[in-house]
Symmetry: C2
């Protein structure tokens, strides 16, 4: 098995993060997600408050189109807000993980797109039926039942916007990934085993 | 393993049909695709010539929107053309396969949608990178290299139209399937084994 990096993209409430964590554990790999990458950014001098504002900006589709217009009008790196510098720093960090041969599982953060030139990484998408995701949000994530519907919609919409903002691609489209698994029909550890099966069976390229 | 029926939907040139055939063989299941279902229709009295015309109609997106308009305007079964009767007969045949507990693999024919109420069927989508599909079309299907690009585009567009015509849904969207596999990274028999792994690991419902 030669994937140094496995990226997990996922719908909210599909258990994708859990899959990523257990996969890392089973493989003896490091685990990265937004929380850890944000910690690293803060250690590197970024303000947590500003980072959170910038996240909100990327996830707001109206502002996305505004910012895109500015970008298209030719505003260069000197005019980059903290916004851009923070994201670029995280994406560069992810790229350096790959270049250094670090073995890890990365959940979210457009990692599949950031690492698209690395041929031996494996990209997985986890999703689930709507009712299953509502149930997980309420039972496992402690979401208030009356908020669950809206939250599902908003978080995934935000993810779609964030992804499009940084990649120009449509989040969730099968062509982005090596395999997509509907987690509504399997236990988490069985999904992890399916992914490991794919990692063992897939062909790899000389790099 | 309790799926009596596995449906395979696939991009042109992804090897999906081969996966379906080998899966059926490995499981000791029957195998159905357009060819066999058309044979059955002809045996049941449908004219092959008219069937082929109707296929073309469903795969033409302009006519799809026209026909849809007629449908929305409330034209009932008496006004159905041979067109509709032929498709309905095939879809009813597929439904009877499921009701009878027949163990089979069905490739294409919107079978995932036709059988959407049967909880224990498994629906798989097979796709592949563009270059791999061109290569398979030329090397394995005998397509003329100068026709391959157009053919890929046309066949998949036709599939998308046919699927939308009959289901109202978007073909290829992950939510239609239990698992989607990029066949560009694995041998056909390994993909078959992955599917069997899914069939063995997934949860089933009392029906």
């Amino acid at each position: 098995m030669r994937s140094n990096i496995i990226t997990i993209s996922r719908e909210f409430g599909s258990g994708g993060r859990l899959v990523g964590r257990q996969l890392a554990e089973k493989l003896g790999y490091k685990y990265y997600d937004k929380n850890l990458l944000d910690e690293i950014s803060v250690e590197n001098g970024f303000s947590r408050e500003l980072m959170e504002e910038d996240e909100k900006r990327a996830k707001n589709s109206f502002l996305y189109s505004l910012t895109n217009a500015f970008g298209a009008a030719g505003y260069g790196p000197d005019t980059l807000s903290i916004n851009e510098r923070f994201f670029i720093a995280q994406f560069e960090y992810i790229t350096r993980l790959a270049e250094s041969g670090e073995k890890c599982v990365i959940v979210g953060r457009c990692a599949d797109y950031v690492l698209r030139e690395f041929k031996n990484n494996t990209d997985i998408f986890i999703y689930a039926p709507y009712e299953d995701r509502i149930k997980r949000a309420v039972d496992d994530y402690g979401v208030d039942p009356k908020d669950a519907e809206n939250m599902l919609e908003e978080v995934d919409k935000a993810r779609e916007n964030y992804y499009k903002y940084h990649t120009g691609r449509k989040w969730g489209t099968h062509t982005n990934y090596h395999m997509s698994i509907n987690s509504g029909y399997m236990q988490i550890d069985d999904i992890v085993d399916m992914i490991i099966e794919f990692l063992d069976k897939r062909v790899y390229f000389d790099e």
